[in-house]
Symmetry: C2
Subunit: 198 residues, 2 copies
DNA sequence: ACGATCGTCTACCAATTGGTAGAGAGATGA
DNA sequence: TCATCTCTCTACCAATTGGTAGACGATCGT
């Protein structure tokens, strides 16, 4: 059982490979080999490599949205606690599969065209987050600032730290379970301090 | 006049192209064309593409180190002010040439081998920063935490925000001079809040 | 029972890539 | 003057890339 469809397996393998090694560095041949199939089968399921990249991005974005939504539904009322809940929720999959955030990050930096599609796909989530931040700032429960830029800064911190193992190695950090926990807690404290009203 | 050597021009053009479009996506032919020379001339000055990437990274790292050092020498004593000075100093070149941080970021995420060399090149700067943070934490002038991880988080925030124009566009930000100033100030406030003792 | 559709395959292909071999122009030093 | 060195060039090349054309067996609806 667990007979995942070929298409799904291609998507999953592609996410991992694209995310860890970069889109350009991974060929269709390599994806096919990892799936246990020929390149032409990949091209049967996806019109082109660009098409594949797009669909992989859609999957990654959807995964993130699901995780975030679930975390928010279960979170308490205080805005700092809610942000904390999102960080904890995103951190786990992000570290277990750096590919996820890594791919989103790489694509949105390099290729403007698929990045545009990705952006439009999660725009509503972004808008919600920004207006939420704005409301909480007005209520004095979050440090004042431009809500959009503060949101972007929080995003940059989270994805930056999750996608740059080399920077962490430079400061002597190691990816052990204890290290991961410590990193997560340090990230939470960092963001909490950055957002606490003065 | 301004007769930059072919070698220097190759380095400069490569930094821009690699940084904005990614190392893999830029061919030696394209670099050569942009310089106004043939590919073989590029390969005359640099043994291979890998070699070129390495040297470009060395140049980028050196540029950053110079900027940071200069900012620190002129900075006041208070640690938050010193960090502020570094942010302001790095922000200008980073935004004017996103390639600079973008390249460092891409390479350190994807290719472990050149990333290793890059890391060793700036390790002393990192060590200095981390031990400085540790000392100031002991003195109660910076929020307590693991100095290494706090340094990495600050780095992640700065490079993240400077290398992800798409995330900024998603929150409605525009790269006008006024927008840049606002972004810089928001970044400074964000980091200052994240590091201020509670 | 049989045609159509589905999923995967083998066989190619044109374009591009990083890289080699070596010629030739111009300056330099003996 | 001649040999050498520096720099850029033309001419190739093998490997890889994304992609096309079409054969083949299995499955399914009628």
């Amino acid at each position: 059982m667990a007979e995942r469809s070929t298409r799904d397996r291609i998507l999953e393998v592609s996410l991992d490979l694209f995310g860890t090694r970069g889109v350009d560095a991974v060929s269709l041949d390599e994806i096919a080999r990892a799936v246990g199939v020929r390149k032409q089968t990949v091209l049967y399921w996806f019109e082109s490599k660009d098409d594949l990249v797009d669909e992989v991005l859609a999957v990654a974005a959807a995964e993130l949205v699901i995780v975030i939504d679930a975390a928010l539904r279960a979170a308490p009322d205080d805005p700092l606690d809610r942000i904390d809940a999102v960080v904890r929720a995103v951190f786990r999959p992000a570290v277990r599969r750096p590919a996820l955030l890594g791919l989103i990050r790489e694509v949105s930096r390099l290729d403007t065209e698929p990045a545009e599609r990705l952006r439009s796909r999660i725009q509503s989530l972004v808008d919600r987050a920004v207006s939420y931040l704005g409301a909480e700032m007005d209520a004095g429960r979050i440090r004042r600032g431009d809500p959009g830029l503060v949101a972007a800064l929080g995003y940059a911190t989270l994805t930056g730290i999750a996608t740059e193992p080399e920077a962490l190695r430079a400061v002597g950090w190691q990816p052990t379970p204890a290290g991961l926990r410590q990193l997560r807690d340090e990230l939470r404290a960092f963001l909490r301090a950055a957002l606490t009203p003065t």
